[in-house]
């Protein structure tokens, strides 16, 4: 790769400012949005995307300006992009669980209280794992 150092600095600066801006937007959504189900969107999407932009900027900085490959950033970004939906799912389940247990929370969001799943059952947070589903500890 032979692009000039000023162009590389321009690219890296753009990526850093873009990433930090997305992180700021994610935290602003965390402060501003009305209920937890909406608040989850800010950190899990905007902040993760912003951190991805900053990590790509870091890879470009070390490659284009200093001429060395670093792969730690790619490892960090892959790990974050894999784990963000999992932690968001766990937090949403905690929210459903506490709400059904009667924790006084803020006013419900624009979408209202989440409906129960189809089939006359309750969300899986409230009952023991059913036989035949993962986590039933049969045969462990």
């Amino acid at each position: 790769m032979t692009i000039g150092v000023p162009l590389a600095e321009l690219l890296v600066s753009f990526l850093i400012v873009l990433g930090a801006g997305f992180a700021l937007i994610g935290s602003w959504g965390l402060v501003r949005l009305p209920s937890l189900m909406e608040r989850l969107h800010g950190p899990t999407k905007a902040t993760t995307l912003g951190l991805g932009a900053m990590l790509v900027g870091s890879v470009a900085w070390f490659q284009l300006v200093r001429g060395e490959w670093t792969t730690h950033e790619l490892l960090v970004s892959v790990f974050l992009f894999v784990t963000a939906p999992i932690s968001a799912n766990m937090i949403a389940k905690v929210h459903l669980h506490r709400e059904r247990q009667g924790e006084p929370s803020a006013q419900p969001g624009p979408a209202g209280v989440p409906a129960p799943p189809p089939g006359g059952t309750d969300w899986a947070t409230h009952s023991a794992p059913q036989l035949g589903s993962p986590g039933d500890f049969v045969g462990d």
Binding site: A20, L24, T83
Partner: protein
């Protein structure tokens, strides 16, 4: 130019951390606080990445990787404790 971009980035991430701290203190439910802590960990990883660019050494990316893994495990442990009353059943 990179110095200005780094200064703007540090400012934005610091402001984002303050917002997360506000949600951590205010947030009406336990899930809000877990979410605020998770976001604080992610923003701290961003600050470590910017420090790595500013310092010019790749040595701080091990810290970023470690923080990513420990932050995820911590979030899942909090959520699991709230859901089941125990972390490892």
């Amino acid at each position: 130019m990179i110095a200005y971009a780094l200064a703007i980035g540090f400012g934005m991430l610091g402001l984002a951390l303050v917002m997360n701290l506000w949600r951590l203190f205010k947030g009406p439910g336990v899930a809000d606080r877990i979410l605020a802590l998770d976001t604080m960990v992610i923003n701290a990883i961003g600050i470590i990445v910017l420090i790595g660019i500013a310092g010019g050494s790749g040595i701080s990316f091990e810290a970023a990787l470690l923080l990513a893994m420990v932050g995820f495990v911590g979030t899942v442990a909090y959520a699991k404790f709230c859901l089941r009353g125990d972390i490892i059943e």
